[in-house]
């Protein structure tokens, strides 16, 4: 009996344009997380502070604003504005979630393909390194967007919905575009950095540990350096502190760590440049395949 049940069949159908070949790679990388309960729980936990503190504030003001007993309490509540959003967007909890998602989704982006030797299978197709990296980066970027920009959108929708204050949308337009800018510059740079780190190792575990080390090393190191020198340059060691400052600057609020806006911008430009440099060196001569 022949080993194959049917003969070889040729394919004469259509082929998609070269520019769209990244889509299945992106989908295969990103989609599995939406089926993991732990990941969905993480998403809920990310939204929770926004709903509780943000939407809850709006709810309290609208529902209890007329009650004389609650008026004093309601007066104490901070307004939902750029300052409040900056605090929520860049607090310790949000940063912690950012690191978890970067480690969980990001550490294996390139490293796993190197370990399983599927990287050469992908690059041996009509995919190309740029499309491959775009697909992988987009997978992580989509989730970082979900954990940073989407909660702000949810907050704005709840606030406007509960208060009926549509003027909020143009009086505090910076809440939305500032957050989008922060997401693109900050977490966006983080995506490229994670890709660069992931391209340096065959072990997603090592990449994850390196990410954790880099993110969490900076905080105590910078805090202590700042305590010694009182110079904003001390925060350069801490990616999380710089992210925080960037968030404040994008939303037009003065950051607590007194990091100047130029310093923030240059920091992320330098980090982006270094990460792109690593990716270029790794992929241009295919060193990443060795």
């Amino acid at each position: 009996m022949p080993i194959f049940d049917q003969g070889y069949q040729a394919y004469g159908g259509e082929r998609r344009a070269l520019g769209r070949r990244w889509i299945p790679v992106w989908r295969e990388e990103a989609a599995p997380y939406l089926h993991k309960r732990a990941f969905l729980l993480l998403l809920v936990l990310a939204l929770l502070p926004w709903l509780v503190f943000g939407a809850g504030l709006s709810f309290a003001k609208t529902q209890f604003g007329d009650s004389s007993a609650m008026q004093e309490f309601v007066k104490q509540l901070p307004p939902v504005d750029e300052s409040w959003v900056a605090k929520l967007l860049t607090n310790g909890w949000d940063n912690f979630l950012l690191v978890i998602v970067s480690v969980w989704v990001g550490s294996g982006l390139v490293a796993r393909d190197r370990k399983e030797r599927t990287l050469e299978v992908f690059l041996g197709r009509a995919l190309g390194p740029m499309q491959y990296l775009w697909a992988k980066g987009a997978a992580l970027g989509a989730y970082l967007l979900l954990f940073t920009f989407v909660p702000v959108v949810v907050l704005v929708v709840f606030h406007v919905g509960l208060t009926g204050d549509t003027a909020f949308l143009w009086q505090h337009a910076r809440v939305l575009w500032g957050t989008l800018l922060y997401t693109l510059l900050g977490p966006g740079t983080l995506v490229v950095t994670v890709l660069a780190l992931s391209s340096l190792s065959r072990s997603p575990r090592i990449v994850g540990l390196a990410l954790i080390g880099i993110m969490f090393f900076g905080l105590p190191a910078s805090a202590i350096l700042w305590a010694i020198t009182r110079s904003p340059m001390a925060w350069t060691f801490s990616v999380l502190a710089e992210l925080r400052a960037l968030g404040y600057h994008c939303l037009g609020v003065a950051p607590e760590m007194e990091i100047p806006v130029l310093h923030s911008a240059l920091y992320f430009l330098a980090l982006l440049g270094a990460s792109l440099g690593i990716l270029y060196l790794r992929f241009s001569r295919r060193e990443v395949l060795r």
Binding site: F217, I224, R230
Partner: protein, 266 residues
């Protein structure tokens, strides 16, 4: 018994030697020496007459709490603990190790001991150097006065390494994604719950470690409040129980493990 005790010694030496010669070992060395760099910077600034925000002994206290306890010890224990068996699985050498006529839990304990010996030695050197550099102005007499507190800090650091090391080794054996769970526990649960009022903080390692550390090395107020919550003897007892339990569970899992299970971990 004699046959596998020699094997255990060989594994211990091999694990310790490998750690000191690996890239991870050099990273650990760099992280351990970082406080020296900070303290040397401080001394340089003081020597040049630059006004600084805090003195050597205060900086040392901040380093112990924020850097050693809050970062270095959990990170290094995570770094090396989850990799204890996983590195062997990834490298394809686990079947050779477990195929020897040595009980698997002995293999695990020998590797654990090798790992801990390097971490304990490295941390001791780092903290001793930091203590000396931070008390240069106080001189030998000042250092002698502070030696007791330094020894308490070192004891707390060592206990932290042992218990965290056991915890993360257990996580490395038990979970498919040990890094994720280790990170969640070591940097999430520990940091969040250890600062909460109530009984819940006793289910963290960090709280008991803070209890053991001398009050004057901590920022005033907050840690005094926490330190008053239990006695040092109770803290030691909790840590001993946790450490023993984690190690015992790890030994049980090591005996039952399948190499293929570990190879699937990303």
């Amino acid at each position: 018994m004699a046959a596998w005790s020699e094997a255990a010694k060989a594994l211990f030496s091999h694990t310790a030697g490998q750690m000191t010669r690996s890239v991870k070992g050099f990273v650990f060395l760099g992280l351990a020496l970082f406080p020296w760099g900070l303290l040397l910077l401080l001394q340089l600034l003081i020597w040049r007459g630059v006004p600084v925000g805090l003195g050597g002994s205060t900086l040392y206290g901040n380093l112990v709490v924020a850097y050693y306890m809050g970062f270095l010890i959990p990170l290094c224990a995570l770094f090396f603990g989850v990799a204890l068996i996983a590195d062997e699985a990834e490298g394809g050498t686990l079947p050779y190790l477990f195929g020897r006529p040595v009980p698997r839990h002995v293999v695990f304990l020998a590797k654990f001991a090798g790992m801990e010996s390097v971490l304990l030695a490295g941390t001791a050197v780092s903290m001793a150097g930091a203590f000396v550099l931070s008390n240069l102005e106080a001189g030998a007499l000042g250092m002698a006065k502070g030696a007791g507190d330094f020894l308490m800090d070192l004891t707390a650091a060592w206990l932290g390494l042992l218990v965290y090391g056991a915890l993360f080794s257990l996580i490395g054996l038990a979970f498919r994604r040990p890094l994720f769970w280790g990170f969640l526990v070591g940097f999430g649960w520990e940091n969040l719950v250890a600062w909460l009022p109530g009984f819940l903080k006793r289910i963290t390692i960090l709280f008991h470690l803070h209890t053991l550390m001398p009050e004057h090395t901590e920022p005033k107020g907050l840690l005094n409040l926490l330190a008053a919550s239990e006695s040092k003897a109770a803290a030691l007892a909790f840590l001993a129980v946790y450490g023993a339990a984690f190690l015992a569970l790890s030994c049980v899992l090591a005996r039952r493990i399948e190499a293929a299970h570990l190879e699937r971990e990303g």
